[in-house]
Amino acid sequence: MEPITTHTGTGVPLRQSNVDTDQIIPAVFLKRITKTGFEDALFYAWRKNPDFVLNQEAYKNGTVLVAGPDFGTGSSREHAVWALRDYGFKVVISSRFADIFYSNSAKQGLLAAKVAQPDVELMWKELEKDPATEITVDLESRTLRCGTVDTTFEIDNYTRWRLMEGLDDISLTLRQDAAIGAYESTRPSLKPTTLPVKV
């Protein structure tokens, strides 16, 4: 997982509240066996509409999604984060995130930044007025700039630390490698093992 401290990229205004995980990625894509390559699945239904924001040339390569409140509700599927990440998004901005989506994002290095709704509205206006507007997010200072909008975002200390260090769940646990090894050395030998095979 890539550590992030700051990120600057094109903003994509998504004037939509309650973007649920079925809209982010429909269930049919859950049958895939890969963990990457979900960029085509992102907002699958909406992208069939030529007017959808990601179908507009100016926003196509956006990396910061600015959405309405209650982003990521619905099922717990981790695929929603994978699809956003694979498309190229590094940051999602909303005034409220669903709990599971929020924790899934942190695990995949996607920054979910909570910004007050009035500021989101201002950002939408800026991005729609000039699609070339870039957004800069700074995790160190928890600040965000988008054209004339200069504001702060909310993120808890733990999630911020993980993103800045680029630690996924497994790397975090592997920091305890010595403790795991110590535990293993005291495990009773009578505990079963699957190998060698006995039938």
Binding site: I170, P192, T193
Partner: protein, 485 residues
Amino acid sequence: MVEIASDKPLTLAEKVWRDHVVVRGKDNDGQRAPDLLYIDLHLVHEVTSPQAFEGLRLAGRPVRRPDLTIATEDHNTPTLEIDKPIADPISRIQVDTLRANCEEFGIRLHSLGDANQGIVHVVGPQLGLTQPGMTVVCGDSHTSTHGAFGSLAMGIGTSEVEHVLATQTLSLKPFKTMAVTVNGTLKPGVSSKDIILAVIAEIGTGGGQGYVLEYRGTAIEQLSMEARMTICNMSIEAGARAGMVGPDETTFDYVQGRPHAPTGEEWDTAVEYWRSLRTDEGAEFDAEVVIDADQLEPFVTWGTNPGHGVSLNDAVPQPTDFDDPVDRESAERALEYMDLEPGTRMKDIRVDTVFLGSCTNSRLEDLRKAAEIIRGRHKDPQVRMIVVPGSAQVRLEAEAEGLDQVFKDFGAEWRFAGCSMCLGMNPDQLAPGERCASTSNRNFEGRQGKGGRTHLVSPVVAAATAIRGTLSAPSDVLLPEPTPA
């Protein structure tokens, strides 16, 4: 389960937890961070593992303990013509991917055609890999089955599967404990499936949330291991993270002599440890429910979640029987989906299909009990009955006893092992509108096939139903025919 002091009387779950803590979570403003627990056994199948293995590959990580990991093919596999390539392309890709991953990471795999292939929760106990006092995980919610041995056994998600493969540990938040005390003795024809359906009807599908359940009391002590597995299997349907039974002589007898069970001196040491795991006198549970086994009748579900259960002698409930508006609405919707009129006697409901199988009820004992009821009889001509042993081994054992012949003579289909009609992921599915008496664990809308209607039952109720064509108790078919006047 907040603080574990050494002098405090402990429950079974607390002891197993205590013995697996690798790193204790730090207190953070009064909130306990998760503990890091060691995992003794990791069961793997084709559906929830592909992305976990891919994650390892992308990060260049090995499987930490292939020798504590075992895989089998079950969810997607056909139960007919298993020597032919799997027809559905997606199922085939998942199975082929599992085979390639096990090869690459050095994991033991029991493939289709192997004597130990079968439903992951049947295979672990059968091999003696599931033993008391262990931590067992699998990317499947019915992992709770293994709690019957006094193990802490939990279903996990795909990213946790990857975490366990890489580290052999799992971060877990402490949970609460609930005693489910079942007193008395079951009447003939009533089985452990009826106990758990009654428990879920009592506490609701969310009643166990945040808890590890411990089933105890005289009725539980009298149950075989197979019957205990049926109960623990469905703990998840009450919303619980896990379900457990204290290990006793029944447990030890079941484990002894299995391929991976300890032997010689190690056996004695193991049994001594296992005995020490039982809940201490005076240990406190965070909650308790009490069920009277003497009062239980065979249970059956009428709706679309496992909490929608009634005694087989009852009728389909009225939505107005439910006080809570959410429950009432769910009942209305369920009745519509199930195409049932309130007030209909459960025993008047006709079924099209009877499914005997799934990790809930597909072990040798389940097959034996069903066979006992149908032996020498014929099924209702309009009913189709499918019998699917939980593992290839169970199939072989059943055949050695001639059970396959009993089922075939009865008119049932005798299949190869797998999850089969428990979920619509392989060729065994209900057609839209088809009604099924099923020994599986979930009666959700579309679970057994799009538009299919499921009534959850025990194996003996399934057998009696296949004879009469309508939902029936064993006592309905075992009574002597009335003599003509």
